[in-house]
């Protein structure tokens, strides 16, 4: 009986070992659009050249007739899981840091907005 119990305990312990997982995935352009950076931009004054100099190439350029929009996206997924043999659980949270800048036909900034989640601030 003692041997069986010992064997059982060993098997259960072995099953429970390595029972957690954590990963993250990052896609997109580097987040350079924190408020401290975009405070330098002024609607009606700043130009597309200023934005590109501050933030670099965008994820997407959208033509809106005579206007254009630059769209920046950084996709950040974080996953964590509990992996037992009889029960496995994974939870994956995906957040999208993004910025958009509108320019008129003379390449002057007309509107912009940014969103950075606190975890990606640094």
């Amino acid at each position: 009986m003692y041997k069986t119990t010992l064997l059982t305990a060993l098997i259960v312990c072995a099953s429970l070992l390595g029972a957690c997982a954590q990963f993250e995935s990052k896609r997109g352009v580097e987040v350079n659009w924190q408020d401290t950076v975009t405070n330098e931009l002024v609607n009606g004054t700043s130009t597309r050249k200023d934005v590109l100099a501050l933030l670099g190439p965008p994820s997407q350029v959208i033509a809106l007739g005579s206007e254009t929009a630059l769209y920046y996206l950084f996709e950040h997924s974080e996953g964590e899981g509990l992996i037992l043999i009889v029960y496995n659980r994974m939870r994956i949270n995906t957040r999208y840091d993004r910025a958009i800048f509108f320019f008129d036909e003379s390449d002057t900034l007309t509107e912009f907005a940014t969103r950075v989640y606190p975890a990606d601030e640094s």
Binding site: M1, T4, R27, L64, L73, N88, R89, R91, T94
Partner: protein
């Protein structure tokens, strides 16, 4: 061997037979409050301050379109196999999926004034299935792949250089370029603009 030992061994055997109950949770984007619906004729600047940059955007003939979305996908599955005993010739699987989501679609005219705003939310059964499969598990009973794709903005440059001929011929109608409308996740590829790509 005592009866208690035999019971214990049966218990262990049952434990190994289960490949497990698996739960996957995907939370994509931030929740949208229905109270965040912008007012009629609001300016683009007001909407951006209220909601932040859109998740999706496209030009349209009358101005442009923006969309914000939030998805919460729950996948549950249960499987039994003899693989742990070295006899991988039988598996029984069951799975189901639940999809909750929110989508806010806003249109603007060329003067950057809001012309319409539509909000919808849903909590639906996303499908599922059961399978008994010998030797190999050929079929996945729950498929969420098309719901968790990365955003199309990451592929924008690549889309403009796509080498696949049917896709290239149809690039003017592609909903991922930001020039010809937009579509939600999980829209079937066999209908609408992408059906012309024939692949």
């Amino acid at each position: 061997m005592r009866a208690s030992s035999i019971r214990l061994l049966y218990l262990l055997l049952s434990y190994w037979l289960l490949t497990g109950c698996s739960q996957w949770r995907y939370d994509m984007g931030a929740p949208i409050a229905s109270s965040d619906l912008p007012a009629q004729r609001a300016s683009l600047n007001e909407v951006l301050q209220l909601l932040g940059p859109p998740m999706r955007m496209s030009a349209s003939d009358t101005g442009f379109i923006m969309a914000w979305e939030h998805w919460d996908i729950r996948e549950n599955s249960l499987g039994i196999t003899l693989g742990a005993l070295g006899a991988d010739f039988f598996s029984a699987d069951w799975g189901e999926m639940r999809i909750k989501g929110e989508f806010l679609l806003v249109t603007f005219d060329h003067q950057h004034l809001l012309t319409s705003a539509t909000y919808t939310d849903w909590d639906n059964d996303g499908g599922g299935g059961q399978a008994i499969q010998p030797f190999f598990s050929f079929v996945s009973v729950v498929d969420v792949e098309d719901l968790i794709d990365p955003m199309p903005q990451h592929d924008w440059g690549n889309l403009l250089l796509q080498s696949d001929l049917p896709s290239a011929l149809n690039s003017g109608s592609n909903s991922d370029t930001g020039q010809r409308g937009l579509q939600q996740r999980a829209t079937p590829k066999a209908i609408g603009q992408q059906s012309l790509e024939m692949n």
